[in-house]
């Protein structure tokens, strides 16, 4: 029992989810990525007046992006070949793999194209309308003749399915 709890703690803390993989391509080593996870988290902890942040998500992305930039700056100072590009906004940051560090972006996207077609039609349609046709949740709801909260649910199911299918590739 003690061993399995220890293993649990170890996994929870040592693996620290997919963010390590998330950062992995931008950094040279896994331990750099692990440090960044902790650094992002600690900076989020330091926010004392949470109400002052109007968009916590944008704040989170900014923290992560700034850390990548700082890291890049340190690497440049050390005149080493860092695999870190210019951090030019959220889109750039999000252009980083979610899971499999062995797959490059082309392979991941190809895989997701297949996964997309496996989705139940209402989930697939919600994804296409959101990403391809750039409709709002209300507009998607109108097209599918359901409530916006159902749209919310379809999109969650879609991401959840994609995450499982991509995680299995690890």
């Amino acid at each position: 029992m003690a061993e399995s709890r220890k293993a649990f703690v170890e996994r929870l803390f040592a693996h620290r989810g997919a963010l390590q993989a998330f950062f992995y391509r931008r950094l040279r080593t896994k331990s750099d990525a692990a440090d960044l996870v902790q650094e992002v988290y600690l900076r989020m902890l330091r926010v004392s007046d949470a109400d002052a942040i109007l968009n916590p998500e944008a704040y989170l992305f900014t923290v992560a992006r700034n850390l990548l930039t700082e890291n890049a700056a340190v690497d440049r100072r050390q005149a080493e070949a860092a695999d870190v590009g210019e951090a030019d906004g959220m889109q750039h940051l999000l252009d980083v793999p979610g899971f499999d560090t062995a797959l490059d972006v082309t392979q991941r996207v190809a895989r997701l194209r297949v996964v997309l077609k496996e989705l139940p039609p209402q989930c697939c349609a919600a994804v296409m309308l959101q990403y391809h046709h750039e409709l709002s949740y209300q507009e998607i709801a109108d097209r599918l003749e359901v409530s916006p909260s159902m749209v919310n649910k379809y999109l969650q199911q879609a991401l959840s399915h994609c995450r499982r299918r991509m995680a299995r590739l690890r």
């Binding site: 997919a18 902790q38 209402q122 349609a125 003749e145």
Partner: protein
């Protein structure tokens, strides 16, 4: 029953997905914003999963924009599925099921059932502690364990190795007894309802903040990461009375050591103090004796320092708390020190005494 790591990670990923989809839908209202922040601040795993989902969505966006799926037929099938009503109790209603679900849907409903099972497990996991107000609850970690828990009021408790707390919540006050060990508290502010940590007779009163309390025999160390706390030695404060005049206010980035009395605050790198969250231990010119004690809190092979004089040797460095080997390896590079190692013992000797006394493992 403890759910497996994978189930926990999936449950966290599901929460991350829920927040991510909600964020894409438009700005969160004030209440949702603060719940989202609290969720992010609860664990580095949450932050990690959230960013990972954002990365996945980015790839999905690219996939959706580089694929050909004719929209109109898709919409027709989607509406059909969305409006298919599956009778829950056909026998009760006296109807046979209208349609047999097509194969894909069956697979999906299996997936949905699995997802529900995960949510059930997650809910079980989150509420397993039956956090009812008024009932004291004990949380503890064994040797080499750590844990993170949300308390009933939304405050977060990080428990380090070999630690135990007892939580008593009443309508008037939230009290956590630190029975032993070390804990970091991220406190949710609740107006009049204070938050107090008692480590023996050392009282630490929160004024809306994050702080770390480390209780050792004969000493309590309080480190404030954010905000301010009041520290004093004595009985719990009376609800309507002001704090005792001796209560010391300690601000962010300061640490006090409480022995027979409350020491004076000294500035510290709070990052070093909370480094145990990632199982790293940070030393800055700390005596080898204390460094070894610190490792012995985590490790299974105790480090023994044979030479009194060596105990004061200053050590600086960042180490993985569970990686005694690399710590011992770096010790062995110091010229004053000799490390003698067997499968059951790690002895640290000064070079001079090592020459006199060969290693024996048969004590």
């Amino acid at each position: 029953m403890t759910p497996s790591n994978e189930q926990i990670r999936l449950a966290i990923a599901e929460q991350a997905i829920e927040w991510f989809v909600q964020n894409r839908g438009g700005p969160l209202d004030r209440e949702a914003r603060s719940r989202f922040m609290a969720w992010l601040k609860a664990s580095p795993v949450h932050v990690g999963e959230y960013l990972a989902i954002a990365g996945l969505a980015r790839d999905l966006d690219t996939a959706a924009n580089t694929t050909q799926i004719p929209l109109e037929p898709l919409l027709v099938r989607a509406r059909e599925q969305a409006h298919r009503v599956v009778p829950l109790e056909p026998s009760v209603l006296g109807h046979a099921p209208v349609t047999t679900l097509p194969r894909m849907s069956r697979v999906w409903s299996l997936a949905a059932a699995a997802a529900l099972a995960f949510i059930a497990v997650a809910t079980l996991w989150l509420t397993r502690d039956g956090e009812r107000f008024g009932l004291p609850r004990t949380y503890s970690t064994g040797h080499g364990e750590q844990s993170v828990r949300a308390l009933p009021d939304g405050s977060v408790l990080h428990l380090n190795t070999d630690s135990q707390v007892t939580v008593h919540y009443s309508r008037r006050e939230r009290v956590v007894d630190l029975d032993r060990g070390q804990a970091l508290f991220q406190v949710t502010h609740q107006g009049e309802r204070g938050f107090r940590v008692a480590a023996g007779n050392t009282q630490v009163l929160d004024v809306g903040t994050q702080f770390d309390v480390y209780r050792r025999p004969g000493a309590v160390r309080v480190t404030v990461v954010e905000g301010t706390v009041a520290v004093y030695i004595g009985p719990p404060p009376m609800p309507t009375k002001p704090l005792p005049p001796a209560a010391l206010r300690v601000g962010a980035g300061y640490q006090v050591e409480v022995r027979d009395q409350v020491g004076s605050p000294r500035p510290v790198d709070a990052r070093g103090v909370v480094a145990w969250l990632k199982r790293q231990i940070v030393f800055e010119n700390e005596p080898l004796g204390e460094v070894a004690d610190e490792f012995n809190r985590y490790g299974h092979i105790a480090i023994e320092i044979e030479d009194e004089a060596l105990r004061s040797l200053p050590i600086t460095g960042v180490f993985d708390a569970y990686d005694v080997d690399s710590f011992v390896a770096s010790l062995a590079t110091m010229k004053e020190v000799v490390v003698q190692r067997t499968p059951t013992r790690i002895r640290i000797l000064s070079r001079a005494s090592a020459r006199r006394e060969p290693l024996s493992d048969t004590r």
